[in-house]
Subunit: 156 residues, 2 copies
Amino acid sequence: MIARVPVAADRGAVHDALVQCRAFNEVEIGVGLEMFDAGVAGDYELAGLEEGGLLRAYACFGKASLTERSWYLYWICVHPAAQGRGFGRALQRHVERVVAQAGGERLVLETSGRDDYARSRRFYEQAGFTLHGRIRDFYKPGDDCLIYCKELSACP
Amino acid sequence: MIARVPVAADRGAVHDALVQCRAFNEVEIGVGLEMFDAGVAGDYELAGLEEGGLLRAYACFGKASLTERSWYLYWICVHPAAQGRGFGRALQRHVERVVAQAGGERLVLETSGRDDYARSRRFYEQAGFTLHGRIRDFYKPGDDCLIYCKELSACP
């Protein structure tokens, strides 16, 4: 796997990853693509991992406005063809390095409290993110928003 | 006071309110104006209260993407000439009505944990917002982000 910044030509691979990973519904795929486009346009930071010339995982992140050193991790997606082989973990660590190098001291993310997101939550918890808040029924009834944060100074 | 949707011509009054209320630094004033401009362009909702033909208080809010019925209150500002006379409370209630009429069921906001924001936090707590999360040092060292939420179905 090779880390590189995704470009406009990766849009098809990003769309494919968003659809094939089966974690997102149609509206979420649309928002994911919008954020990718905004990232290519410079509104957000993008990071990706490719294999065999294909982008197989990407993340969308950015500095939180009005903060000195806090960043958001908005989106992370791994194509199923690359799942289970450390792409997600490598990408998360890569993003943390990029953020830390840019002066970021913490990474904040929001994810769902739904049962089918248990694996995602474990992924972030094992990476050192801790739960800092919960908004009940935020996404829809029974679908809470969980707010996680990781202090990057505590990185290994 | 008269409730109305702010328009581009109110930009001067908004700038004046942001500066005169002395709650915001230069960067925050810039972001506040950017969000006002984006609101006028249709990216966010705006609500305001005028008195004597002048916009004296305004709020910037909007539906949270990927949610069914959750909204964010991004910004609320009252010109000092109108402070202490119920403009803030009237505007907060007006925003809640607008959101509820649009199908919103909860309003989420983030504010600072700094001592000089104690009055703002009391304002929101008295309005029925409750604390749902805290990210330490989010804005800067010693300046936490507090996440509040109010269920609008519980409105009086």
